[in-house]
């Protein structure tokens, strides 16, 4: 069949519009990358001792000192404290954001995030169990001696997975709507918070202090050691998530459409939830709960590049990284020279942004 001329030009026009749309998305990603880079450099210059951006840039270029005693203080501070801190912010922001995006897509719910689904609360409880009762849940799985830090991470992770799967199986039950899943997540949050309160009640003062400190998510806990763990985890999760970009797109039209389009929906759900839970668990157990990034960053991403996960996943990662670096920089500046835990700041940055996004939407999705 030969289409009439008008149809032919329409067809070419649509193809052109699509190509233009792809170019615009790439441009947005590039811009976000630049913003992120600039914020990173700026973030290096703030902290207990303030340097100018130029000074920190020079210290950064000088590289890590081979002999810490011989190096000047600035170089030492930049390389042992601030570089891992900023890089951790970057990766954790990206990780929490991609975890939130995965949850929103998989549960088809714009309110899903590691925080609103109670996953952060579950991680806190796991950590609390480790700090206060010294109960090592990891031992049941891995009967080998593990260090104190690893035990807390392990506990957090296990409770995160428990929480994730409880929510998942509930969402699979018949006639459970998307709103119910979020309500269930809120319920989980309260349960785990209550359990954590109980732990606090029975804890000794010094354990309490440790737990309370733990529960202020903070990038001051960052170190090169933790950075590498986060790097491996976030990189693996982001790559595996990205490989599913088309499947996530398909899922937006509903399970049945996706499945008839060749997507293994069940497997996608389980792997997606596991990956996002793993990322959240690792970040939250190493740095403490950091809220709102996982909720807000995907919405920022969607506003910039739309619903195609091939662009949405990187855009969300970048948005999360930018938000967390920004929040961290602000937390260093607000009460300088004191540094606020970033977990407090993300809510201050994230909530107004979320409200703005809700108000700006032309159509309500929730």
């Amino acid at each position: 069949m030969i289409p009439p001329d008008s149809e032919k030009s329409d067809t070419a026009g649509i193809g052109g519009a699509y190509t233009a749309h792809l170019r615009k998305n790439l441009l947005f990603l590039l811009l976000m990358l630049l913003v992120m880079g600039a914020l990173c450099v700026f973030g290096l210059s703030v902290g207990g001792a303030s340097y100018t951006v130029a000074e920190s840039w020079r210290a950064l270029l000088a590289g890590p000192a081979a002999d810490p005693a011989a190096a000047d203080v600035r170089r030492q501070i930049i390389w042992t404290l601030r570089v891992p801190r900023v890089l951790s912010a970057l990766l954790s922001g990206a990780g929490l954001a991609v975890a939130g995006l995965t949850m929103q897509t998989i549960l088809r719910n714009p309110l899903a995030s590691p925080y609103t689904l109670g996953i952060s609360a579950a991680a806190s409880f796991g950590a609390g169990l480790g700090i206060i009762t010294k109960l090592n849940v990891l031992l049941a799985v891995l009967p080998a001696a593990v260090g104190y830090d690893l035990m807390i991470i392990g506990n957090s992770f296990i409770f995160t997975v428990v929480c994730t799967f409880l929510i998942y199986f509930l969402s699979k039950l018949k006639k459970v709507s998307a709103e119910t899943v979020v309500l269930f997540g809120v319920a989980m949050m309260y349960v785990f918070e209550a359990a954590t309160s109980f732990l606090q009640y029975i804890g000794k003062p010094e354990e309490l202090a440790e737990l309370v400190y733990w529960m202020f998510g903070s990038l001051s806990k960052a170190s090169w050691h933790k950075f590498y763990i986060i790097l491996v985890c976030v990189a693996v999760c982001a790559v595996l998530t990205y490989r599913n970009a088309w499947n996530f797109n398909a899922l937006l039209l509903g399970d049945e459409s996706a499945q008839s389009g060749g997507v293994h929906v069940e497997r996608l759900r389980v792997t997606g939830l596991l990956l996002s839970a793993l990322t959240t668990a690792v970040i939250v157990s190493l740095l403490g709960p950091i809220g709102f990034i996982g909720l807000v960053a995907p919405h920022v991403g969607r506003m910039l590049v739309g619903g195609d996960h091939r662009f949405l996943i990187p855009a969300t990662c970048l948005a999360g990284a930018i938000l967390l670096i920004l929040a961290d920089t602000l937390s260093c500046l607000v009460l300088a020279p004191a540094v606020l835990p970033v977990g407090i700041m993300t809510s201050f940055v994230g909530v107004p942004l979320l409200i703005y996004l809700i108000m700006k939407r032309r159509r309500e999705h929730w």
Binding site: Y18, W246, N249, R302, R363
Partner: protein, 255 residues
């Protein structure tokens, strides 16, 4: 040529039989409408044909091959399914929606041919002005077109549609069905759709299958839909009228 063959198909949720002993065949270039009252098992039957649900008994054969033996991708390239309307929870452009139909053929990057095909389908369905708009901003009829376009982009041999015209106004009902008719005649596709609109079924299908309480009451050409069948299946007294050589169903009253 027989494209779709359903033989003695049965399905049950726990102990409750949804349907049983259902057999029918659809040739290439044919539209079969599946009608019957609410809860008759029409949707479940479509899902079993598409392997979304595992049948308890019987077999489904596509172009001579049992669906169980097909891989996910082979199945996706043979059968496309349009479920009852449910808008996506997040913004998504019409183009991206239709492009999803190409997923069973894609490695990662859509090729030129994929983009061209998607653009052509969008144009033919009259959606070219809204190709880059969010499907959530469209009217129900336009959105339904986009969803059907997605299934067509999948280039299946068999297209299954679950109540494709529900919630649509008269204009869109006729347009969508007319478009499907064109497509079937042109590409030799085989279409199975469920509907509550008996007149639409009479007008656009080559064959009809009437399901009641999980049993196929009648199956064959549109002539099988008699006043007696309507009374038995729907409990409705109706008159079949003829005009311009076509039958029309006029409901009189519920019994």
């Amino acid at each position: 040529m027989v494209t779709l063959q359903v033989k003695n198909l049965g399905f049950s949720y726990k102990r409750h039989d949804v349907f049983r002993g259902v057999s029918f065949e659809v040739d290439e270039g044919m539209i079969l409408s599946l009608v019957g009252p609410n809860g008759a098992g029409k949707t479940t039957l479509l899902k079993c044909v598409n392997r979304l649900l595992p049948p308890k008994t019987g077999a489904v054969t596509v172009m001579g091959r049992a669906v169980q033996t097909l891989s996910r991708l082979e199945l996706a390239r043979s059968i496309a399914y349009v479920p009852q309307a449910s808008p996506p929870p997040f913004p998504m452009t019409v183009f991206d929606t239709v492009l999803l139909g190409r997923r069973p053929y894609l490695n990662w990057r859509p090729r030129r041919r994929d983009v061209d095909l998607v653009a052509e389908i969008i144009t033919r369905l009259g959606l070219s002005d809204m190709a880059m708009r969010d499907v959530n901003e469209l009217s129900g009829g336009e959105r339904q077109k986009a969803v059907i376009a997605r299934a067509i982009a999948q280039e299946p041999k068999i297209l299954l549609l679950d109540e494709p015209t529900t919630y649509l106004d008269l204009q869109y009902q006729l347009r969508i069905m007319g478009f499907l008719r064109e497509l079937v005649d042109e590409k030799g596709l085989c279409v199975v759709f469920t509907t509550h609109d008996l007149n639409l079924a009479l007008q656009f299908s080559d064959r009809m299958a009437v399901l009641k309480d999980g049993v196929l009451v009648a199956e064959g050409g549109t002539g099988i839909l008699t006043e007696d069948v309507i009374l038995r299946v729907y409990g409705v007294e109706a008159r079949l009228l003829r005009s311009g050589g076509r039958p029309y169903m006029a409901p009189v009253r519920a019994i």
